[in-house]
Amino acid sequence: MAIGNLSSKIRQTPSTHSFVMVALLPIPITNPNIPQKPLDEPRQTNREMLNEVLRRILQPLSFKQNSSAGCGYYKVLCADGNFRRCKPVLAAWLEDCPEFSDLHHLERHVCFRCKCSKNELGDYVHPDKEHPWRDHNLYGMLSDANTKAADAELLSRHVHRGFNVFRHIPCIVSDLPKPDLLHTMQIGMLDHLQQWPLHEDTQTARRVKCNLVIRACLP
């Protein structure tokens, strides 16, 4: 976790401890003696556990907001000894795609920002014609409704049922995931771009493979 009003010079240096580790997310113990359950069940428990942990971590954000005393603000002891009014807002998540999907209760291989359908992901999107954002408040209401029609609606939008922390925190959920250059470009697209020509036994593949091998030998 980091705070927003740091200059990027400080934030980008790990030795300044700008990023603080708050908690380690638990992973269920795998015991070889217990027979494996069908995959859906452990996944559901995983999701519930993740949300429970996040709920406890983010509790100050969601509950102080509702208290009528400070109309959303609450007092925090600062380093200079004074109390200041503070209004924390959750602004950004940086992770890889699968983690985003887990956090937002979405299925894998969907866009977690907009309502783009699964078989349109590869198409070029014109900057003026972007898809509308995902409405997580609506998903929360549908999930609470617990009727068959609501479930079908959720399924059609590739959303899992169940409690999600982000729907109860004052923030724009579909705006949380920020562009992540490391995962999307360097070990995402550029990695793909290197692999694609090598997939088939074509003339292109043979030539590129040969040169990549030479490149790997160089310092």
Partner: protein, 185 residues
Amino acid sequence: MSRYLLGVVTQSLRGGNPAQRPIFNRTIECTQTLLEFYMYVRYISHDDATLSYMEDALHRFHTFKDVFLLGRASKKAKAKANALRTELVKKRKVDEQTNAESWTPSKERHEMNAWRDYICQKIDISKELDADFNFPKIHLMSHWAEQLRQYGALQQYSAERHEKAHNTNLKDGWNASNHNRNYLP
């Protein structure tokens, strides 16, 4: 990787016969445009001009990406293509047996080559039909121009730094432990 990828691709795809040339050109162009887009994304400050260059580079990448459709073929598509291949090979053998008497050696060679080209072409087409670029990361890039306008340079959002911070926060502790993960205190 971005440093050497374009160099490797252009170096390896020099020359070639007229049939291969368009494919090679498109491959180089596709690699170049994606790298160009990456360079624009990493700018520390942006204005309307650089943003329009960036969107243009992304648009060009999407027009050229079809060269790599074969590389995107799924396992299912490959299995399907293999089934098609065995079927076509059977067909070829039947054809060979029926026409065997009228063939001279040179004609036979010619026929065999024609069959081989035909089979390869069919398989490529069947693979390309099933392949697509529908994965999230290629779609995420289309949001970046808008996010740049709202939140500033994307360099600050790279996950590199806190992945690096993992080293001190997590891995040092794990390396000092007894590596026993199935333990409840």
